[in-house]
Amino acid sequence: MRRARTLARRAGRPIVDLATSHTTVSLERATIRLAGLEGADGERVPWVNRLVDAVRQEVGLEHGVALPVWDALVRGQAPDLLTLAQKAATGGGGFRIPAGRDLVRARSAAKKAVGQGIRRIDNSRRQRERLIRRHGDAPRRPWIYLIVATGDIYEDIPQACAAARAGADVIAVIRSTGQSLLDYVPEGATREGYAGTYATGENFRLMRAALDEVSRELGRYVRLTNYASGLCMPEIAALAGMERLDMMLNDSMYGILFRDINPVRTFVDQRFSRQIHARAGIVINTGEDNYLTTADAVEAAHTVTVSQLLNEFFAKEAGLPEELMGLGHAFEIDPAVPQSFRLELAHALLARTLFPAAPLKWMPPTRHMTGDVFRGYLLNGFFNLAGALTGQGILLVGMMTEAVVTPWLSDRDLALDNVRYVLDACEGLTEDFNPPPDGFIANRAQQVLGEAVELLERIVDEGLLAAIGDGTFAGMRRPENAGRGLDGVVKRADGYVNPAIEALEVVAP
């Protein structure tokens, strides 16, 4: 186990260097968002995009947007950010990279402005803690995590409230297909998503407010989750921090593997967004479950472990304590495999043992779910049982209609009944579950760990970026110099300034 961690650190270290020596358009936009710029123009292009694009065009992003933007403001080019963005959009930014006294002044103005966003994040965190004290927390582990995915925030809200009343501890609003590839965050309340609802600041606000009300009604704080993922990962993280979301999907490699986003872009954005999550007290949820939707869950079990170790390293490096590391894994073994349930237990216990303090996120069967909803309901029951037996932290509730439709109201209700039955009926069953140290379960765990160490050794040898380029994870080849959003990556200059990063930077582990 120690060896595995050392290897993960060695594999991750060069990536951190990469992340600290580059910036991205989205990271810069997130910085501006922290300073309070909202809204979009008539073509629904957010002002942060207009502003950062203008800066980039006029002076490049190598020094970050903070210096040119606040230099312009200090110089009185515009009275505030919004006006500056409006002027910049029509070509009148007049940006420059300040030097000397101007630099000092711009830098301190930027720090002050961005500091407001950091304070909003701090306030949100304190407010969460207050509300949990006031209303009470989720009644037990695992937290019950339910998905809402109508595409329309105004259908999502009543469904989320119904789910909370029915027992959900965490509500996740799934994003519309396609949002992750948008290089901007849509504005306002939205009603037109496909198989999910757009992540926007306003949607975050509306849902959090509704859940606050339900939390009051129920006497327990109901958490809200969204996705800090895709091309706008840092901006969404910033919005989440400010709007008091409680958990965020945030994986170090998901975008690369499943959305063909450029690896460097992803790693840069990821580090920044995790720094925000750390500051905001947001639990991240990593996405190891996704590997098992395309790769075989038995053969590829060790890739999950490797990814968890990497996610752990990157999370720690960005300042996240273990309590905020919702490392993912999933119940995705083909049910036709002999002893599949015991294999699941072995994998789940391995994760539990490797990351004892992390609130592990336990994901339900999806790949082997079929239109036989009865069978699906049963499978979800055994998934719930495995979660209970192995002490998982967050239980994403499986839907019997997984292979058919995005969840119906009744699917969620039935699924919660399932979870409740299993957790109540099997309360304390861990007392009786004692796999022998040399038994099938222990041996399988040992085997997976061994394979993970082997793979990590290979990755350390060839480098993580090369390994990703090779198709090591989920069978996807993602070369370092390809993928979406590459043109939004910029190497930092020596004089790069970012007051958000300065505020968020903590001593590396």
Partner: protein, 243 residues
């Protein structure tokens, strides 16, 4: 004319009309079978029907699961419910009512009739212990309850009703295969009509989990009680109907 109040089934969006259906067709599995399943779903008003699961059950049958929107509207204003058309009384009120109105104890005869031996339901209504926190009819001071138990033949039931001078006869029917419950109920109704002069037969009350509560007239009885009935409802009805 009452105003029409229309609703549709709800999957995840108001008005989407979504339903789930499963059934078996006596057809070997395959595309033909799936087409047949889709045809049936269409006859049921599901359009478009998604045949999301089909599985051979032996060589000659196929089981299907279907999802899709149903085109039918539900008109809430046209819903016929055997609504309680009598007030719900406390045991005390029922007792007072009987004492004042009948001036003697009400005689209630209960039985699980025919070959049916499921007494738990009728016992839930009659035994003191009761059901869902309500005491059973035996608890009512002004009722004399005679519980004949299981598998009571129809002639035997009529005979006892006459002997006990029953005001009400309560029968339970739980087995429904081949409509056993309906057949037996009709038999009971016919036997009582025959045995008593017109208009003099005791009140006939039938209960069981699978009855349609609005079918009393069709079956020739006075009242039907379904799934989840409580003793208080039955007592209140008896007081209403007999006092």
């Amino acid at each position: 004319m009452t105003e029409r109040k229309l609703v549709r089934p709800y999957g995840d969006t108001t008005g989407d009309g979504m339903v789930q259906v499963s059934f078996t067709l006596p057809v070997p599995a395959g595309k033909q079978a799936e087409g047949a399943a889709a045809q049936l779903a269409a006859s049921m008003g599901i359009d478009p029907a998604m045949v999301v699961h089909s599985k051979a059950v032996g060589a000659d049958h196929t089981f299907f699961v279907i999802y899709g929107p149903v085109k039918h509207l539900v008109d809430l204003s046209a819903v016929t419910v055997a609504e309680r058309d009598y007030p719900l009384l406390s045991p005390k009120e029922v007792n007072t009512g009987i004492r004042r109105g009948l001036r003697r104890k009400m005689v209630v005869l209960g039985a699980c009739v025919g070959t049916d031996a499921h007494t738990v339901g009728i016992d839930a209504i009659l035994n003191i212990k009761g059901f869902a926190g309500e005491k059973g009819l035996e608890y009512y001071r002004e009722m004399r309850v005679v519980n004949l138990g299981a598998q009571v033949g129809v002639p035997q039931l009529v005979e006892r009703a006459q002997k006990e001078k029953a005001d009400a006869v309560l029968i339970s029917q739980v087995v429904t295969q081949k409509e056993a419950h309906l057949t037996t109920t009709r038999e009971v109704a016919a036997a009582f009509s025959e045995a008593y002069p017109a208009g003099r037969r005791p009140l006939l009350v039938v209960g069981g989990p699978r009855f349609d509560e609005s079918a009393a007239a069709a079956l020739g009885v006075d009242r039907i009680f379904g799934r989840g009935t409580t003793p208080g409802e039955v007592a209140s009805y008896l007081a209403h109907a007999l006092v």
